[in-house]
């Protein structure tokens, strides 16, 4: 009887162990296939949408730098940085949120206090939020991956932050150039004996730009507003025109402060649309105040 019980237990335990957690039959039916689920609900009846065959592995992105942003809930500067990152050309030259394949660096947003992620920061003391941390690529071509190449607590504005990160990366590259060159190989523009066929471009890791292409991507800077020199003698002369001089100087001061705040990434009192309208009004006033002389008209 005991042996029957033992045999029953053995069979039962075997059956438990064989409970299918993975349906192999579908794996076999699919055969050699790579389905790229892009996280968007699709029309599953359309086989073109359902199964996208992409057998080749994606490019090797182990040469990308890591940019981590650690924020806290309810932190306005953190939210500002996140929203800027979606639109600002400086920040997007580093990484494009939601599009890691087109990003120059690996960008990740973390929330301090998220227990599933806090183990990452065991070696870090946070002095403010957001904290931006930059680390070298996984490939090891720029030294240990754990090194903090750039750390900044607070949000200094998109341009200052981007330039700070790039300066730090430049410094890091300059300290490990020899090793990097050994890993990256010779530059692309080697002159000498050509092979008798057109060679394929090198894999992405070696052709990826050393630094993000910042300059061509940034919007052109607007010409600074000229100083209204005429306002000073007008002011000195006194009379009813003095008020015009005061207004012109005040307007100039306002535009300068606005421009500075814009560069810092701070909130603006007047949005760009309203500002453009005011500027056109100011220009109209300027033309009406001082019409061009006939000689200037002739020159034009």
């Amino acid at each position: 009887m005991r042996y029957i019980a033992v045999a029953f237990l053995m069979v039962a335990s075997s059956a438990m162990a064989k409970t299918p957690q993975v349906d192999i039959s579908e794996v076999i039916r699919r055969g050699d296939m790579v389905e790229h689920v892009n996280g968007i609900a699709q029309n599953e009846n359309d086989p073109k949408n359902r199964l996208i065959e992409e057998m080749a592995v994606p490019e090797d992105d182990s040469g990308k730098w890591f940019v981590s942003v650690v924020s806290t809930p309810g932190c306005p500067h953190c939210e500002k940085l996140k929203s800027d990152w979606k639109t600002n050309e400086y920040l997007r030259s580093l990484a494009i949120p939601g599009d890691p394949h087109k990003s120059w660096a690996h960008l990740a947003f973390y929330t301090k206090g998220d227990q599933s992620q806090d183990w990452r920061w065991k070696n870090i003391t946070f002095r403010g939020y957001p904290t931006i941390i930059v680390q070298p690529p996984r490939s090891g071509e720029y030294g240990p991956v754990s090194d903090i190449v750039y750390l900044h607590a607070g949000y200094p504005g998109p341009e200052k932050l981007t330039r700070g990160i790039i300066d730090a990366i430049k410094l890091r590259i300059s300290t490990v150039t020899t090793k990097a060159m050994q890993i990256r190989g010779p530059p692309d523009n080697v002159v000498g004996v050509d092979p008798p066929w057109d060679i394929q471009p090198k894999p992405d890791r070696n052709t990826r730009p050393l630094l993000p292409r910042l300059v061509p991507d940034v919007p052109p800077k607007e010409a600074p507003a000229p100083f209204p020199g005429w306002a000073i003698p007008t002011l000195m002369a006194g009379g009813p025109l003095a008020w015009v001089g005061i207004a012109a100087l005040a307007w100039f001061g306002f535009t300068q402060i606005r421009e500075w705040r814009k560069r810092q990434g701070d909130k603006l009192l007047i949005n760009d649309q309203m500002m453009a309208m005011l500027e056109s009004l100011a220009k109209k006033f300027d033309i009406e105040r001082d019409p061009p002389s006939p000689t200037e008209e002739k020159k034009k």
């Binding site: 957690q21 349906d23 579908e26 992409e54 592995v57 090797d60 992105d61 240990p144 090194d147 903090i148």
Partner: protein, 199 residues
């Protein structure tokens, strides 16, 4: 004595379904997946009443590693969606990933080998078939010892090491299937060091 023999036979029959693996401390300096043991423990494949959930346990671990909450919370009811437990297959994984907005590569057949290598080379973990009808988490590949590192969700505290041959046998036994999150890899835990001071 008889009882001892019976117990030994019972244990032996259960052990027959556990793949043999050499377990060792985590030795490689820069593994593809490096979630600590206490966090891996959350994904122990032990949800009474819901059946085995090894596929979701493995994807969930990768979700923590790559900081994709919609993936890391697969096993529980959260704002990212209802819990997904029980046995799984490629079609089911694709369906719930679409529903939760998780981007994945759902790879079956011979391409899995190239994709698993790509994952560990670029710093990503992967949910992969290892052992008969079982999914585990691919942790990395140790070039020095030529061993594959795998975390079994039935024993998440340890990392198992397999030779190429053993790993190949186990992956074939599972049916060649792997799931890799289409998301950037994680940086390793940062450390302060005066790297600019070269002297």
């Amino acid at each position: 004595m008889k009882h001892a023999l019976q117990i030994a036979m019972l244990i032996a029959s259960m052990a027959a379904f556990t793949p043999a693996a050499k377990t060792a401390a985590y030795s490689i300096s820069n593994p593809a997946f490096n979630v600590p043991a206490n966090v891996r423990e959350w994904f122990r494949n032990n949800f009474p009443g819901d059946g085995g959930s090894c596929v979701q346990c493995s994807i969930g671990m990768c979700g923590v590693d790559q900081n994709i909450p919609a993936a890391s919370t697969l096993l529980w009811d959260t704002r990212y969606g209802p819990r997904e437990r029980g046995g799984s297959w490629p079609g089911r994984v694709a369906k719930y990933c679409r529903a939760r907005g998780i981007k994945i590569y759902n790879v079956t057949g011979k391409p899995t080998w190239d994709w698993m290598r790509w994952a560990v080379n670029t710093g990503r973990g992967a949910a992969i078939g290892v052992g008969t009808a079982h999914f585990q988490t691919l942790v990395g590949y140790d070039n020095a010892s030529a061993k594959w590192l795998v975390c079994n969700n039935n024993s998440p505290q340890k990392i198992d090491r397999y030779s190429d041959k053993a790993f190949r046998r186990l992956h074939l036994a599972s049916g060649q299937w792997c799931v890799i999150l289409d998301a950037p890899p994680h940086p390793v835990a940062p450390v302060y060091r005066e790297w600019w001071n070269t002297k």
